[in-house]
Symmetry: C2
Subunit: 245 residues, 2 copies
């Protein structure tokens, strides 16, 4: 019987091959040495988004640098849904929360967008990435979502990739319920778009609804906060078209 | 054309009838007077969970007491799904968040439960209620979820009401995906059960799965935090069986 799966899971940048000696610095070294009080010989799990999940042995533990050695594959890399989340940033606590939950719900790309009514300030991409890494480590996924630089929604839509559909969570006006719309949607890659507090403006909504790749949907009779709408849409998408089926 | 719907929405306890003069105290008075800086003559929307949503005129504004007068029905009371959420409390920020989101997602009853692995401390029911009221006011629903006193999961299950099914979000072992299980489930009232951080213990899981009213489900391949699991399950339930259809 194989030994128990290690409880500590760490995302690394290096290639994972048996016998390599990998240097782990920064927050991860602090986490191993001070938070988890690891010792040489302890085993952890590591993943890099490419080579699956590996069992690794800690060789040396330092405050600023630890050395770990991958020793065997725990899980091979596997395909994951290529689901994008386009979100208008909300207040910081809401955005932190959204990044964490979207990562747990299996988003592949986190794309902050500015819309006409976006009022939240600058997005701290380093903070987004750190939150995404931590959530990916905790939820057991084999990748960390890619955090892209903020872009104007209009630019993204004008250069929209062929073959990808956009689930437009429309908070105003009549749109088909999301579950029904997803159930009859064509197989394709998808992105979920949720708006800022206050929603999209009327011109923006009409413009989005006029695009052939846009599927406007309703998320029920209540007015969901921006981050709640995003999570509900992601949960429904994964349940109906993604890996929650 | 009727005047615009008031932007401020307030939950009150009193019966709503035209011409009544209602006294509003406590946090609500502070909110009207100091946060929103209302003046006599301003209009707000009020609801009490029984009489629909009313337009009301503010007669007097005080720091500790305001008087409002319902003047006309905006929306009649309507039926809402009788969905319960049984949740093992997590850390305070997680519980606050869960209450807010569960209210937005249309839960009728918030039932804290203790399970074998529940480690979070005491639930502050006043805080749960305050969070639920605020979320209900913001999301436009006509009710506030009922916050029940914490109870042992075993006691609740032993006295389970006839005709209600329990969606058991099982974080370990094999269970059918939630969307498929819900799509073929019998029409009935439902409760969603999510566990503490660390999940249910093996004996507890077997005992739950042995109950005829329990539907065990999986929420996908990732390990969701307790509050994320609850939200994903509620979003799927509303989308497939509830008012998000």
């Amino acid at each position: 019987m194989s030994p128990a799966r290690p409880k500590i899971r760490l995302h690394v940048g290096d290639d994972l091959v048996a016998g390599a000696r990998l240097s782990v610095g920064g927050n991860a070294a602090h986490y191993l040495s001070h938070v988890m009080r690891c010792a040489p010989g302890d085993e952890i799990a590591v993943f890099n988004g490419r080579d699956g999940e590996w069992r690794a042995v800690i060789d040396t533990v330092g405050r600023r640098d630890c050395v770990i050695r991958p020793v065997g594959l725990l899980r091979p890399q596997s395909a994951e849904p290529d689901l994008w989340l386009l979100f208008a940033p909300v207040k910081r606590a809401g955005t932190d929360f959204l990044i964490q939950k979207a990562t747990e719900l299996g988003v592949a790309v986190l794309q902050p967008v500015t819309t006409r009514r976006t009022v939240a300030g600058r997005v701290n991409l380093d903070r987004v990435r750190a939150n995404a890494v931590e959530a990916a480590e905790q939820c057991g996924r084999l990748t960390v979502p890619e955090a892209r630089a903020p872009a104007a929604l209009s630019d993204l839509v004008d250069a929209w990739p062929a073959g990808r559909r956009l689930l437009f969570c429309d908070t105003a006006g009549a749109a088909p319920p999301a579950p029904a719309a997803l159930a009859r949607a064509p197989a394709s890659d998808w992105a979920v778009l949720t708006g800022p507090e206050g929603g999209f403006d009327a011109g923006e909504r009409d413009w989005l609804r006029g695009k052939a790749f846009v599927t406007p949907v309703s998320l029920g009779p209540r007015v969901l906060r921006a981050e709640t709408a995003a999570l509900a849409a992601l949960a429904l998408w994964q349940g109906i078209l993604g890996d929650g089926r």
